[in-house]
C-alpha cells in the first residue's frame, strides 16, 4: 500500500538517512525507536512530505508522491501528529475538529470519535486552555476523522505521565480501526507494546528495512 524505498537525506554534507525503506500494508502497526539524532524526525518529515528526499521514491497505492508538497501527502491519506501538539491558538478546539471532519462522509466518524474521547466538554475551549492529554487525543481525533491510510505519531509520550500514556494508548487502540496503518516514533517501549505489533530500531547511518512481520 505505502512504500518508500532507498531514501537518502543529507543536511549540509552530513548524511542523516542512508538507504531507508519503509513498507506498510493496511492495518500495520509499526514502532520506530532509536537514539536522539539518528534521523527519526527526518524520516517522519520525509514520509509526510515536509522534506524531500535526496534519493529514493515514495508511493501510496498507485500514487507517486516523491517531491510532492506536504498537503498532497495529507490529502492522499497520510496524516501526522507533531511532537508538541499543534493547533491554531486563535480558534476553539471544536472549530478545528469540525473543520477537519466537515465533509458529510466524516460526520458520523467524528461524532463517534468525540463520544469516545471525553473531548465533548472541551470543544468550546481554546487549545491553551486544554490539558495536554486531551490535546493529544484531540490530535488523534483530527487525524483519524478523515479515515487516513496512514497515521504517523511523532513522540506522543512527550509530556505525558505513565497513566496518561496508558490511557492514550488504549484510546488509540480502540479508535484506530482495521484499515489505517499506524507508525509511532517513540522512546517509550511500554507504550509501543500497547499500540504496535513490530518495533524496529534506527541506528546512525545504517540502512533500514521496515516492514511488518
Amino acid at each position: 500500500m505505502f512504500s518508500m524505498q532507498g531514501i537518502c537525506k543529507s543536511f549540509g554534507g552530513i548524511e542523516v538517512l542512508s538507504d531507508i525503506s519503509l513498507t506498510l500494508q493496511s492495518g500495520d502497526r509499526i514502532g520506530i525507536t532509536g537514539a536522539n539524532g539518528v534521523g527519526k524526525s527526518t524520516l517522519i518529515n520525509i514520509a509526510t512530505g515536509f522534506l524531500a528526499p535526496d534519493h529514493g521514491w515514495i508511493q501510496l497505492n498507485d500514487l507517486m508522491l516523491t517531491n510532492c508538497p506536504a498537503w498532497e501527502f495529507a490529502r492522499a491519506g497520510i496524516r501526522r501528529t507533531f511532537q508538541s501538539s499543534r493547533f491554531l491558538q486563535t480558534a476553539t478546539l471544536g472549530e478545528q475538529l469540525f473543520l477537519a471532519g466537515h465533509a458529510p462522509e466524516y460526520r458520523n466518524r467524528l461524532a463517534d470519535l468525540l463520544d469516545h474521547s471525553n473531548l465533548q466538554s472541551s470543544l468550546h475551549l481554546f487549545p491553551d486552555e486544554i490539558s495536554l492529554p486531551l490535546l493529544r487525543k484531540a490530535e488523534v481525533v483530527r487525524g483519524l476523522v478523515t479515515q487516513p491510510e496512514i497515521l504517523i505519531l511523532d513522540e506522543p509520550s512527550a509530556g505525558l505521565t505513565a497513566d496518561e500514556l496508558h490511557q492514550f494508548g488504549t484510546f488509540l487502540n480502540q479508535q484506530l480501526g482495521r484499515k489505517t496503518a499506524l507508525v509511532v516514533v517513540e522512546h517509550r517501549l511500554d507504550f509501543m507494546a500497547i499500540v504496535t505489533d513490530t518495533v524496529v530500531e534506527m541506528k546512525l547511518n545504517q540502512g533500514l528495512q521496515v516492514r511488518a512481520d
Binding site: 498537503w71 501526522r80 473543520l99
Partner: protein, 299 residues
C-alpha cells in the same frame, strides 16, 4: 448634514476599504505595505472610465475592482515563494513602483475645452461625476456607507465560514495547514487578490469623492496607516480595522486641536498596543467570548 461632518465620515468610510484590504492580507499571515497602490489603481481606473471613456459609474467601479485584483494577483504571483519580511519589502517596492509609474503617466485629452486625464505629478483633475449627478456630501456619504455595509456583511459571512478558518490556519501555522491537506499558496493568492479588489473599489469611490487625485495621495504612509488600523482594532472580526479607522481619523484627524499631533499620538497608540495588547482590541479570543455570551453555537 453638516458638510464638514459628512466629508469626515465619508473619508473614514473610504479609508475603511483600504484598512479592510490590509486586514485580508494579515489574515493569511502576511504584512503588506503596498495596499495603497491598489487603492490608487482603483482611483485612476475609475477616473479614466468616467471621465475619458464617459462610462457608467458601475462600469468604472467594476474596472477598479478588477484592476485592483489584477494588480495584487500579479504581486502575489511574483512573491509566491516569499513570506514574512521579504514579502513585506516586496509589497513596498511594488507599490512604490506603481506610484512612480503613475508619476510618469501622461495621457491628457482636451474634452469640451478642458484638459482631462492623468497628467503625471499633477494628477487627474476634473472627475466631475458627483457634480454631474448632483451628489452632495450627504448623498455621497450614504452611497459609500451602503457599499461598506454590503462589504462588511459579505465579510461577516466569510468570517463564519470554513474558508476563513482555513485561511487563518494558513496564516498562523502553514505547517499545520499543510498537515491538514491545505495548500497555503491557494489561500494566500486568493486572499491577496481579494484584498486588491477591495482596495480598488475603495480607491474608485475615493476618486469620485475627491474629484482630483494625484500619485502623492497614494504614498507609503497611507498604507502604513491602513495596516496599523488592524493592529489596533484586532484581527478577530472585520470590525477590527474599522475601530482603528475611527480612532485615527474620527478622533485624531478630525478634532482640529489634535490634528497637529496626530502622527505622534497615533504612533504612540500603536506602540502601546504592540506592547500591551498585540492582538488588538477585537482579538479572536474576545470575539469568541462575546459570541459565547450572546448564546451562539460554540463550534
Amino acid at each position: 448634514m453638516d458638510p464638514y461632518l459628512a466629508s469626515v465620515l465619508t473619508n473614514m468610510t473610504l479609508i475603511a476599504f483600504l484598512a479592510i484590504s490590509a486586514y485580508l492580507v494579515l489574515v493569511v499571515g502576511e504584512v503588506s505595505f503596498g495596499q495603497q497602490a491598489f487603492f490608487g489603481i482603483g482611483a485612476y481606473l475609475t477616473a479614466s472610465v468616467t471621465v475619458l471613456a464617459d462610462g457608467h459609474v458601475i462600469w468604472a467601479l467594476l474596472t477598479a475592482v478588477v484592476g485592483g485584483a489584477a494588480g495584487t494577483l500579479v504581486l502575489g504571483l511574483l512573491t509566491i515563494r516569499l513570506s514574512g519580511l521579504y514579502f513585506a519589502i516586496s509589497t513596498l517596492c511594488f507599490a512604490e513602483l506603481l506610484r512612480f509609474s503613475l508619476l510618469q503617466t501622461r495621457f491628457t485629452q482636451i474634452i469640451d475645452g478642458r484638459k482631462l486625464g492623468p497628467d503625471g505629478p499633477e494628477g487627474f483633475s476634473n472627475i466631475r461625476w458627483i457634480f454631474d449627478n448632483h451628489f452632495d456630501a450627504t448623498d455621497f456619504l450614504l452611497l459609500s456607507v451602503t457599499c461598506l455595509t454590503v462589504l462588511l456583511l459579505l465579510l461577516f459571512g466569510l468570517a463564519r465560514s470554513r474558508l476563513m478558518l482555513q485561511a487563518r490556519m494558513v496564516g498562523n501555522d502553514p505547517i499545520l495547514a499543510q498537515s491538514q491537506g491545505l495548500n497555503p499558496t491557494h489561500y494566500r493568492l486568493g486572499f491577496i487578490t481579494l484584498s486588491g479588489a477591495v482596495a480598488g473599489f475603495g480607491g474608485g469611490l475615493f476618486a469620485l469623492f475627491n474629484t482630483h487625485i494625484e500619485p502623492a495621495m497614494f504614498g507609503v504612509m497611507l498604507g502604513v496607516h491602513a495596516l496599523t488600523y488592524s493592529i489596533i482594532g484586532g484581527l478577530g472580526s472585520p470590525i477590527g480595522p474599522l475601530i482603528g479607522v475611527v480612532l485615527d481619523i474620527g478622533l485624531l484627524e478630525s478634532i482640529r486641536q489634535l490634528a497637529a499631533y496626530r502622527m505622534i499620538v497615533f504612533g504612540g497608540l500603536v506602540a502601546l498596543f504592540l506592547v500591551f495588547r498585540p492582538e488588538g482590541i477585537l482579538s479572536h479570543r474576545l470575539v469568541a467570548r462575546l459570541k459565547r455570551r450572546w448564546g451562539r453555537r460554540h463550534v
